[in-house]
Each structure stands twice: as structure tokens, then as C-alpha cells.
Symmetry: C2
Subunit: 323 residues, 2 copies
């Protein structure tokens, strides 16, 4: 079972081939970040059509769907929001998204929204009233709540409100590299206390100042998270995305980058300009199996490697979704 | 098994109590008529929330869900569109609506739309290119296609394009009363040839000129349909709705009516002003069981009554949806 807990590279569904070639059991496409409800509905429609027309894909609504995909040699798809703009002002939309197959909801994307403050905001005032209601509704609907890209206070508030596992789908230890997109030991320990998972992120500027990070550097973040939280709370949230090298040409990557800066979703101090190179050896999802060898070489036992590579995610999915 | 194939009275979900008190096994709320995709998504969200919070309701995605509801003393809900405005220009939205539980799609609502001409239109030019694609997509998604409120040519075209049962969820024989909302013998026979069902409508002006029609008059339309198409192709599509007597006060009914006239969806020659009284004895869904007695008194055998009251609908549901 190999699961990457965050796959914005799948904002283009056709990119599933990267993950399938890499032997993934489940991929977690980003369905919406800043989209309206109407735009989000269209994206769901496109994805349902895509899965229906693809003989090796299946939608995961229960943990057992992922196990069945493994058995059949298929790949499972977990729908994920990176932000709550799609919920607009109406929590009943979450009920609709759940019916559409949504599995996990990230509270904010770097900037302030109705729910709380983002990780790159000027303020970090904590979860809003609407945000509290949203977390409770996620609990009622068996949706996983995700604190990535979200301000520290907002995530700590959310973990107090949330019943059951709370995750950081993709976030690294601030103790190893002080990016505002990374998270504190307090956040990580609180996450582990809920039974959740922190997905270790391969985006270069969240690993350090090296624009071409090594696999060893990536594994250092795994080591740190395992040491702090225990082996049951660390997974992958590698964050392969549409603007990375070598997915799209440099000029298009730059245009995407400029747009993210312009809208305030990215900050140049936190996200340096492209090209963005993921860790050597696991540059794209196709090469992800090299991580298994890297972990074994580092001294992790088979059972621990399986937990990190996907079983911890699967445990959270089972606990929240059932099945 | 008692199924009313069209329930615009459930545009207010709380009105389920009328149907539950009437002993219905399945009700078919109108989710959208002229709503945008975004509005429709919100309505689905509201309904999913409502069903989740109601211990005697369950969503029907398969025929067996309705049988299970019967067994448990629950009521099943079948989501229905009366029109295709919610599909906007994007057939993938149908994939999303299917995932949201949509079961049946009516092509037009009285006026012209992207798909074809409505039953009250000036023209009846037939199914559009988009309409052909929509019917094919409905087939691919196992959605039932419904020709009610739609122009004759458009429905005949649609029946040629459609694989499997095609229905008129709520439409009466024009041979008995020449309302433009009623359908010709050709339409009824073509529907039966697909294996479909025509739901007999209780809206007063589709039954005749009597503003307070009798139950006998309603049953005359059943008799006619059974004689023309055979017992396997006649069901209920009674059309109890939000503006009928005695559901809402006269002034509110009038305001709804004026809006329907103003938007061209209704025509005063076809839809006289309220109050609108449904047939005596079955004035509201609560009293629907009186129809069973009426049919038995008219000489229908038990098996035939069961077909008319719901089993024919269930057969179509099973054939199109499976289960």
C-alpha cells in the first residue's frame, strides 16, 4: 500500500499515469483550492467522468476501496480540497461534496478565509465560528480535517474542536527548517495525539535552502517526525504539482508562479521562483519506489516502511470513513 | 410498493411528512427546474443533509434501496430534475449529479432550452445536438430520461436516441383532454415500446375543465392509458406541488402563479389561476391510498393495482439503475 496524501499534480487528471507508473495504491488529487462551488462541481463532474472512463481507477469512499484497488492492481482516488472556498457560506455544500466522494478537507490555503487564518497570513487569530461549525460538520460527515497551509493557532483550535484523527496532509517540521509553511513541534504532537498523520513534503523550499534537495534530506524530515510523534503518525504528502520540473516548460511554470504570487496565495520569500526540483531520486511520482530503498538503507524495518509509505494513511482513512 | 413519480411538493423537503403519512414507499422530489448548477448543488446539499438527519428516509440509488425501504417501513427518495438548465453547457455535470444521487432527468420544462423545445413552446423543432448528447450521456450514466413538459417532436426524437426505457413521469392523454401539456397516443405508444412508464397526472387543468376533478375522472385517464399501452406501462405522476390547495395560503399560491406566468414557464390558457384542487379523495399525498380502493372498485385486480401504484416504476428503476 503506497499512498501520497497530497497530489496537486492531479489538477490535471491525465497525470494519473505518473502515479500509476510509480506503483501508487492511492493518489489524493486536489479538487479545489480557491474555486467557487460551481467551479468545484464541474471539476467533480470531470473527475467522475474520468474515473468512469479509466479501467484502472476507482473512487475511494471507504478504506476497503483502497485495499480492493491494491488487490486488483488498480489505483484508488481520494478527493481532497486544499482550502474551503468551495464551501462558500453554506455547510450543506459539504454534504453534497461528501456525496460526490470528497474524503479530506484542508481548512485554509495560506491566506485568510471564512474559516481561519492561513500559514502565510499577517495574523493568526484562530478558527472562526464558521470554522468551528465546519470542523463539526466534517466530523458528522466522516470527512478528514487537514491543517496544512493553515495558521498555527487556527490548527490548534481546530484540533480542539475536531473529534478523531486530524491530519497535516503535507507539512514538514519547522524545527529542521523555519519556513512559515512548516509546522511546530506543538502542532505535530497535537496531531499525533488525535491519532492523525503528518505527510512529509518534498517541495524544495520546505526542506531547506538547497534548490535541489537530496533524498537524504527528505528522509531527515521523516526521521525527525518519527522521533517526535512515533512511527504511527508519519506518512507521505509529497506535493508533486503542476508547476514542478520537469512536468511543464519553464515559461509556463513561471506564469503559474506569477499568478500565485499575484493572488497572494504564494509569497516569494517562502516560495522562490521555479524551476522547482523535488528530492533527487524521487523527482516525480514515477520514481517514488526509490524512497522505499532509501528508508530501508536508513535502517527502518519492513513494517515501519509500510506504515510510512501508506499504511498510516490507510489507518486514518479507515478510522474516519469506515470500511 | 407505492411510488409517485413526480413530487414537486418536495421542493420543500419538510413536506415529506405528507408522503410518509400517505404510506408512500418512494417519493420523487423535484431537485431543480430552472436552477443553475451552483443553485442545484446547494439543493442537493440541503437534501443530503435532510435525509441524513431523518431516521425514516433513505436515498434510492438502486431499485433494491426502495425494496429495503419498504421492508424497514422507511421511505425512499428518488432525485429528479424537471428540466436540464442545471446541466448548463457541460455534460460532465451530469456525472456529478449522478454521483449526488440523481435518478431521472426531464428534458425541458415547457419552454425551449439548450436541449429542445418545451410542451408550451411556439415551435417544436425536435431534439438539439446537445440534447442528443445529453440523452446518450444519461444512458451511459444509467439515468432515466423523462419527456414530460417537452414538445412532441423533441420527445419522439429523444425516444429514438434513447437506449432502454423512456418515461413520461407525469403526463396525461391528449385524447381525453387537449391540453398542450398532455401527450398524444403516438407519444404514449412510443413510450410503451421502450419499456417505459407514463405517470398519470392529477393537476386539475390536465384532467379537464372541472376545477375540482373527481377521482373517477382521474381513473378515466388510467383506464385510457392502460387500454392504449397495456398494464405494464402506467404509473402515478400525480404532481402534488407547493402551490396547490391546501398546502399554502391563497395569496402565496397566487404569487407563485404570477411568477410562473411572468417567466413564461406557465401559460394562463394551460394553467388557470389558483386555487388548484387535486382529485377529490386524493387531494393530498396523505389520502393517496384512496386510489387503491378506487381502482379495485373499478374492477382492477390486485396484481394490476400493484403495478399501477408503484411496481411499474420500480421495474423501470431496476432496469435503468440496476439492483
Amino acid at each position: 500500500i503506497v499512498i501520497d496524501g497530497v497530489c496537486p499534480l492531479l489538477m490535471e487528471p491525465g497525470n494519473v499515469t505518473y502515479y500509476m507508473d510509480g506503483g501508487l495504491t492511492a493518489a489524493v488529487p486536489t479538487i479545489a483550492i480557491r474555486e467557487t462551488a460551481e467551479q468545484t462541481l464541474r471539476i467533480f463532474g470531470r473527475w467522475h467522468r474520468f474515473i468512469e472512463g479509466h479501467d484502472r481507477l476507482r473512487l475511494a469512499r471507504k478504506a476497503s476501496d483502497i485495499e480492493a484497488a491494491k488487490q486488483a492492481g488498480d489505483m484508488a482516488i481520494v478527493f481532497h480540497f486544499q482550502g474551503t472556498d468551495a464551501v462558500e457560506d453554506d455547510l450543506d455544500l459539504l454534504d453534497a461534496y461528501k456525496a460526490l466522494g470528497l474524503g479530506m478537507v484542508q481548512l485554509t490555503y495560506n491566506v485568510k478565509c471564512r474559516v481561519g487564518d492561513g500559514a502565510l497570513e499577517r495574523t493568526d487569530a484562530g478558527l472562526s465560528l464558521f470554522g468551528q461549525d465546519l470542523v463539526r460538520r466534517c466530523n458528522a460527515l466522516n470527512l478528514i480535517v487537514d491543517g496544512s497551509h493553515t495558521g498555527e493557532r487556527t490548527t490548534l483550535d481546530a484540533m480542539e474542536t475536531c473529534d478523531g484523527p486530524f491530519v497535516f496532509s503535507h507539512a514538514n517540521a519547522k524545527a529542521l527548517h523555519p519556513s512559515p509553511r512548516n509546522i511546530t513541534d506543538d502542532q505535530m504532537k497535537a496531531c499525533a495525539a488525535t491519532g492523525g498523520v503528518v505527510g512529509i513534503n518534498g517541495f524544495p523550499s520546505f526542506l531547506g535552502d538547497d534548490s535541489r534537495p537530496s533524498l537524504d534530506r527528505f528522509i531527515e524530515f521523516i526521521d525527525y517526525a518519527v522521533d517526535l510523534m512515533g512511527i504511527d503518525h508519519v506518512g507521505l504528502g509529497i506535493d508533486y504539482y503542476m508547476g514542478m520540473d520537469p512536468i511543464i516548460p519553464a515559461d509556463k511554470a513561471r506564469a503559474r508562479y506569477d499568478d500565485a504570487i499575484k493572488t497572494g496565495r504564494w509569497d516569494a520569500a517562502v516560495y522562490p521562483p521555479p524551476p522547482h526540483y523535488f528530492p533527487k531520486g524521487i523527482e516525480t511520482p514515477v520514481t517514488l519506489s526509490n524512497l522505499t530503498a532509501g528508508l530501508l538503507a536508513r535502517g527502518y524495518g519492513d513494517a515501519d516502511v509500510r506504515k510510512i509509505m501508506g499504511e498510516n494513511w490507510l489507518r486514518v482513512f479507515r478510522q474516519v470513513w469506515g470500511g
